[in-house]
């Protein structure tokens, strides 16, 4: 079954809610957010620092094939409750956007399925709308292109193995 990512964007609210159901037990879904090596794989970024605890902080960095840093983000972790919740801030460095606040809630649906609800709160409505309209604001764009390259390669590799 295809599980689609849903966006919930309400009038006058300076947040975006992203909901996704996974064919994964909640523990595995959470692990994808907990383990730096796994994060690096699916986010397509280098994890320079990730302290999974209250008062901890994180720092991600993405470089282009020439080694130039194209994307850098950091934040603080406010809550880290295994298999349940992560509250953190997110700041894209060298970008004209203020820090955003993220609430990630992990829910068990069945033994093998789970749901992630991610609420991103922006400083202003204008900023939220700007982010929505420019999802590929440069930096993210390049990181995302790179991510797609990696995915394409991995998919191919996986396919070969199965054959």
């Amino acid at each position: 079954m295809e599980r689609k990512t849903k966006l919930n964007v309400e009038d006058g609210k300076q947040d975006i809610i992203i909901v996704r159901e996974f064919d994964l037990p909640v523990a595995l879904l959470f692990k994808a957010y907990e383990d730096p090596e796994i994060i690096a794989q699916w986010m397509g970024t280098k994890v320079l620092k990730l302290e999974n605890r209250k008062h901890g902080s994180w720092h991600f960095q993405t470089s282009d094939p020439q080694g130039n840093v194209v994307f850098q983000a950091n934040g603080t972790i406010h809550e880290f409750i295994p298999n349940s919740k992560i509250t953190r801030t997110f700041e894209m460095e060298n970008a004209p956007f203020d820090v955003q606040l993220e609430f990630l809630e992990f829910e068990k649906l069945t033994e093998d399925t789970s749901k992630l609800t991610m609420q991103i709160v922006y400083r202003s409505l204008a900023l939220r709308d700007q982010q929505l309209k420019m999802p590929f604001a440069y930096g993210i764009n390049m990181a995302h292109d790179r991510l797609q390259e990696v995915v394409a390669k991995l998919n191919l590799a996986g396919y070969d193995k199965e054959k």
Partner: protein, 107 residues
Amino acid sequence: MELRRDVFQAIADPTRRAIIALVASQALTPTSIAENFDSSRQTISKHIQILTECELLKQEQQGREIYYHFNPKKMKEIADFIEPFRQMWDERFNKLESIMKKYKSKS
């Protein structure tokens, strides 16, 4: 500077989305649109006005009545600009899912 009302704001409201859904099936007068809602006639008029300003609805005079039509071209525009944001997350999550499925079968 006052932010100009945009299509994005227009469809973010649930009542306005309901109005679009109604008008999408057939052209309606403001009165017949308002009959479908508990809100006051003025509230609904305001919503219709916003939708018209954003070109999601088009007015057509038929005798003494004004009918509102849905403008699918404008709706397509909206879908187009929110879609990349949704897709970005969808692709990330697909990736996450496939990695964790492999992880599961390994362990």
